[in-house]
Symmetry: C2
Subunit: 243 residues, 2 copies
Amino acid sequence: MPDFEKSLTKSVAFPRQSPVEESLSVGDAPLRRIPEATVARLPVYYRALVETAEQQVVTVSSERLAELAGVNAAKVRKDLSYLGSYGTRGVGYDVEHLLHEVAHELGLTQDWPVAIVGSGNLGAALAGYKGFGARGFRIVAVFDVDPARLGRRIGELEVEPFSDLDRVVRERGVAIGMIATPASAAQDVTDRLVDAGVRSILNFAPTVITVEDSVSLRKVDLAIELQILAFYQQQKAARRAGA
Amino acid sequence: MPDFEKSLTKSVAFPRQSPVEESLSVGDAPLRRIPEATVARLPVYYRALVETAEQQVVTVSSERLAELAGVNAAKVRKDLSYLGSYGTRGVGYDVEHLLHEVAHELGLTQDWPVAIVGSGNLGAALAGYKGFGARGFRIVAVFDVDPARLGRRIGELEVEPFSDLDRVVRERGVAIGMIATPASAAQDVTDRLVDAGVRSILNFAPTVITVEDSVSLRKVDLAIELQILAFYQQQKAARRAGA
DNA sequence: GTTTGTGAACCACTTCACAGCC
DNA sequence: GGCTGTGAAGTGGTTCACAAAC
């Protein structure tokens, strides 16, 4: 098997924590500092574990988990070791136990109300997307500024006026905001969300937005993904031609 | 200004090139080996340059470009240095010139026909998404297996049967495939695309897929993004409570 | 015998800091 | 005096390889 490692998406806007006050423990929770790269892989392990559990498998090796997650076994072991020592040498990991630990670490045992801003093509698709619901993520509002779109039904929701954002965020306890507006509106919308108290933002608008350090920001940028693929595709073509 | 660096998405499934035959030049093109992390940022610089050019600005400093791209100036300079020495000390970079060089490097001077497999919520949204078109990426086909969806119009296209994939890929010279199917179909669809000759894949299905080394694979996974945000959000809550 | 957990070695990327050129 | 280009130092992440535990 070829080793096509390196999956995943790296984060943005992370505190980068002043070198002082590094690895503190909080209360009795151990709270090891988990590397960003590891955090980004935990959801992949989580999914692999869910599938494994569904098949009534009781224990799983790092080897097998690696295969399911598309990484190598050493990485799996090191990643999981940041959570604690949940494996048994000579045996592997107890699927149910590990599943629970990972879910807990990721916060999937709680509910995360999500609001979407922008009800165009993409916003509507996101609102209708199954596959979140699975664990804790619930779309509780879709906003738009365009009066023509207000009241339009999307799944169980209706599009609400952006001007209600503050109130709705408060009332429904929105924890995560998704930006699905045109690029030109993205920064303003972000600022409004942050002002309303939202501290986690997922940006789909094709533009750079900035937030204060206390806010987590990640982005998904279709055009960028395509351009990266184009780069490597072109590279391959060049290699074929020359060399 | 706080330094919220670290943007961007890292790749997947990259050759990792056998250590032998490293930095060869092809023909007369210099072809320095550009780090993956740099490649992932070039599209961001590209966008910043386009905006800058639109405002009739003639030269731009690494400082300014960094601001627009949401990174720091040292990174911009190092990144651009992989492409060549296109700046002028004491002055900055000529916007038009740099724009052209970056576009060329990314392969944005050519046309990239894209096919989408899956015409559900997400597939349809992707097909209708403006913001690709901008540079070279043209959706030329949308496929589905569901007979009920065939013939449905999406923008200027109609949904075509998946069984025609081979022929259509050949006839329209599809270079990039996007997977917007349920997870269960993603690996099979990928294999079909690869068999048909597609060498760049963008996977939106929430599952790990694998491809041979010669194929570039990137993924966009909404659920994973949300879970990563949830992790950090929970972390913040814990920090607020304890410590 | 098997498989984890983890120091140590390695590698990729980032940041620093300054010489070199305008 | 200003800004780039880049070696060198620093940081974070990956892989190796093996002792420890079953």
